[in-house]
């Protein structure tokens, strides 16, 4: 297992895909530093502090899950190559168990995903030093948020080995994981919008000035669908990351547990299927 | 002399160096041309240039007398079939579907002959199996069938023995010989399995470092190669003393093995060895012509 991990990491650091991902994360960090620092300092005059660009490590203001969009294709290429080029055989023929192969891939993916986010945090943190941007959120609140975000990223990375193993074709894995990341983004924004529907809507007078009546909103979610909606947003790693990036976390304690559940479920399923599947 | 393919000082640069370094070669009509060289010598690069997959950096070639810069070259290529490097087949299709594709690409009016072609490469009973699930040898044979689909007069095969079982190698050899004799198809085969090549080729071209080192016909090669007698003895020293006395040329392979050139009198030699107390364990005529010729020509360096 140690050897496999070692081999995986050395392949990771030499892979073009990882370099491309690093470059993308770097560019993203620079972009956010530019945009948020500009808006905080020059335009809006500091409603938020450093926590805003820092938490954008997990997405842009609850809307675009940028880290997922970077890691989905990168990790798919990284793992898909093993199946496409058949190098996974080299590991198995030297007597490694399938479980060890799968777990070492999983660990490499989760680490790479966390590393990318750490790179971002370091860059934004470093940019804050010369500009002296203050932290307006207490560190005791920011730190667990960031940790939960990293865990959610790791959970989304844990889905890639499962997908790569099921699909076994580099390109198709890329298409599926990237489309899934984008689909999750739309799904979360749809669900969030549904949750945000008001219970009553106002009917205005003919001049549009005064509300004369309040009608129940048919789009308002009833308790059961509401709970399901909420649960889905919290369950999906993309949902967690977007909540963290928007600083709109509601059920604090539930997120890490759900992330761990996702990791466990994905790994369990992946391992089970990998054990059964015949390799070529 | 009519040449199907003539190359003149071909040079091909890649980002990381030269693959061809002024290669000049002549493939005679009706020949089975064995193209010999170590890995990375430039064999596949030349084939890619001839197939039009890449353009030479410098130099020219003619195919059926048609220069490579002329527009007519595509028409000349129509008479050619090739398997370059790995077999070019759609992995998601069956053998038959793959051939149908190639028939359509060539604009053949009907699928007549498709079944025969599949039989010819022993893939007649693969049914609905996708090429993805083929063995390496089956893919190789399907690649050859695709190359043969256009009924070419000139067939280029890049390492055709790769991945074939012994029976497959024999069948491909017989197929090539038959195509060459019965349909007068000229064949260019690149290979580094010299033993196999020597059973087929009528001409040889030896390449090294992107250059043609020697072009030679099989009879010329035969003539220029010396046969030898390989003796295995209990001790080589008395043998060399005896050979020196008899004025014969030889080379010592090990403490117990000596190759003797020319044609010594075996009786005389064994008597002399008997007197010197040296036991002769084995004598056989050794004919490693192509391999030793090649090794002498390009040296026995490593692949890189």
């Amino acid at each position: 297992m140690r050897n496999l991990l070692h081999a995986n990491f050395s392949r990771l650091f030499h892979s073009g895909a990882f370099r491309a991902a690093l470059a993308a994360e770097f560019a993203y960090a620079l972009f956010i530093i530019g945009v948020t620092f500009y808006s905080i300092y020059i335009k809006e005059g500091g409603r938020f502090g450093l926590e805003e660009p820092l938490l954008f490590a997990f997405g842009i203001a609850g809307m675009i899950p940028v880290p997922m969009l970077i890691q989905a294709p990168f990790l798919s290429v990284y793992l898909g190559t093993e199946f496409s080029e058949g190098t996974i055989r080299n590991k198995l023929v030297t007597g490694r168990s399938k479980a060890a192969v799968y777990l070492s891939n999983l660990l490499a993916c989760m680490t790479a995903s966390v590393l990318l986010a750490v790179l971002y945090l370091a860059l934004v943190g470093a940019a804050a030093v010369p500009t002296g941007l203050p932290l307006k959120m207490p560190a005791g609140q920011l730190l667990p948020l960031a940790c939960y975000g990293l865990l959610a990223l790791a959970a989304s990375a844990a889905l890639v080995p499962m997908a790569a193993m099921l699909i076994r074709n580099e390109t198709k894995t890329v298409i599926v994981t990237l489309s899934a990341a984008i689909f999750a983004m739309f799904l979360i924004s749809f669900l969030t919008a549904r949750l945000g529907e008001p219970e009553f809507t106002a009917v205005y007078d003919e001049w549009g000035r005064d509300a004369i009546e309040m009608l129940p909103n048919p789009s308002y979610l009833q308790p059961v669908p509401r709970a399901v909606c909420r649960f889905l947003i919290d369950l999906l790693p993309t949902g967690q990351c977007l909540q963290i990036s928007a600083r709109s976390v509601e059920q604090f304690w539930r997120m890490p547990l759900l992330s761990l559940m996702v990791i466990a479920a994905a790994t369990g399923t992946g391992l089970l299927l990998f054990r059964r599947k015949d390799l070529k | 002399m009519e040449y199907i393919l003539e190359t003149n000082n071909l040079i091909k640069h890649y980002k990381n160096g030269r693959a061809l370094n002024g290669l000049t070669m002549h493939v005679e009509k009706g020949a089975i041309y064995g193209f010999v060289g170590r890995n990375g010598a430039g064999k596949t690069t030349l084939i890619r240039l001839v197939c039009g997959l890449q353009e030479p950096t410098e130099g020219t070639f003619t195919l059926y007398g048609c220069p490579n810069q002329s527009k007519e070259i595509t028409r000349a290529r129509r008479r050619m079939g090739a398997v370059v490097e790995t077999p070019s087949i759609y992995l998601s299709m069956t053998a038959e579907e793959n051939l149908k594709q190639q028939y359509q690409i060539l604009g053949l009016p009907s699928y007549d002959g498709l079944k025969d072609l599949l039989e010819l490469v022993r893939l007649g009973n693969t049914g609905k199996k996708k090429a993805r699930d083929f063995s390496l040898g089956m893919r190789q044979r399907l690649g050859i069938a695709v190359a043969l689909a256009g009924d070419p007069d000139f067939l280029i095969l890049d390492e055709p023995a790769n991945g074939l079982d012994p029976q497959g190698i024999v069948e491909i050899r017989e197929l090539i010989l038959r195509l060459n004799r019965e349909r007068q198809i000229t064949v260019l085969i690149s290979s580094h399995i010299l033993d196999e090549l020597s059973r087929l080729a009528t001409h040889y071209g030896f390449v090294d470092n992107g250059r043609m080192v020697k072009e030679i016909s099989a009879p010329e090669l035969e003539a220029s190669c010396r046969k030898c007698l390989r003796l295995t003895v209990s001790d080589a020293r008395p043998l060399t003393t005896a050979l020196d006395k008899m004025g014969l040329e030889y080379s010592v392979r090990s403490d117990t093995e000596v190759d003797v050139y020319d044609a010594p009198s075996v009786t005389e030699l064994t008597l002399a060895l008997h007197n010197a107390g040296c036991e002769v364990k084995n004598i056989h005529e050794h004919d490693e012509s192509l391999e030793s010729y090649y090794m002498n020509l390009v040296g026995g360096g490593s692949d890189d």
Binding site: V77, I175 | G52, S88, K100
Partner: protein
């Protein structure tokens, strides 16, 4: 006798490959599934009485086609490289231009067919379910034609990317990101370009008094060179989809012309570069 080689042969071969291609049928199925989903979503407001619902639902395919076809084009064209079959065509003497054009044609046709996968359920099921279109037949046909041409232009761009890069996975990533990028760019440009030049005068009540706010220029209004650039970008395939939806009833002729221009430019450049490319 040897038949004369022409693009027709390659086209026929490509189409027979298209009918067998799983990724093509998946693309059609995805479009149809979204169509059915849209119908189901549209059915609820219909029960509460709404007009023109079918028109709105119908036009969505223009937004989707680029995204769905980005994956298809990279897989279909990419397999010519990964399976090495591109060599079979070039080695028997087909010209590079013919190979390029036949791939372009089949991808564009697949694009239009995938759109039909969306349109057919809309027409067959949608009309009885949601009532007839409110648009005139000629507007509907004109909109559909413009959307088809734009889809073909998107496919032309994806084909260019796929023909110039031998790595299928990289092509897939580039094409998918490009499709979404163009879509979001279109939405952004639509927002910016529909800003009013002047904020109209408005009456409002404060402390029981009716006050009038003068009309004033809108600071968000885009003008000058910037507006011209925005308008040109808004005509790009992909971005154009948003404009098509916005101007559905009277889509200006310049939109299909811009798409045809994009096809011409990408094909000329793509074919020229492909002719010089070293194949393996």
């Amino acid at each position: 006798m040897r038949a004369k080689l022409s693009v027709n042969l390659l086209l026929r071969a490509n189409f027979s490959r298209l009918w067998r291609s799983a990724s093509f049928w998946v693309s059609v199925a995805v479009m149809s599934a979204i169509s059915v989903f849209e119908l189901a979503v549209g059915y609820q407001p219909r029960l509460q009485g709404g007009a023109g619902i079918l028109d709105n639902r119908y036009m969505i395919f223009a937004l989707l086609s680029g995204v769905v076809l980005s994956a298809f084009c990279s897989l279909f064209t990419g397999s010519e490289y990964s399976d090495g079959t591109m060599r079979n065509k070039v080695a028997v003497g087909h010209s590079r231009t013919a190979v390029y054009l036949s791939n372009l044609a089949v991808c564009a046709a697949a694009g239009v067919l995938a759109c039909c996968g969306y349109i057919l359920p809309m027409v067959i099921v949608g009309v009885p379910l949601l009532g007839p279109f409110t648009m005139s037949v000629s507007s509907l046909l004109w909109f559909t034609l413009c959307a088809f041409i734009m889809t073909a232009a998107m496919c032309a761009i994806f084909t260019m990317i796929a023909m110039l890069n031998q790595n299928k996975a990289v092509v897939a990533v580039i094409c998918i990101f490009l499709a979404y990028f163009l879509l979001f760019l279109g939405i952004y440009l639509n927002t910016r370009l529909t800003e009013q030049a002047v904020i109209p005068a408005r009456e409002y009540i404060e402390n029981g008094q009716i006050l009038v706010r003068e009309a004033m220029p809108n600071p968000s209004y885009v003008q000058g060179v910037k507006r011209t650039v925005f308008e040109i970008l808004y005509g790009l395939p992909g971005c154009q989809a948003v404009q098509l939806l916005a101007t559905a009833e009277a889509c200006p002729v310049r939109l299909p012309l811009a798409s045809l221009g994009a096809i011409a430019v990408s094909t000329t450049a793509g074919a020229a570069l492909f002719r010089r490319k070293d194949l393996k």
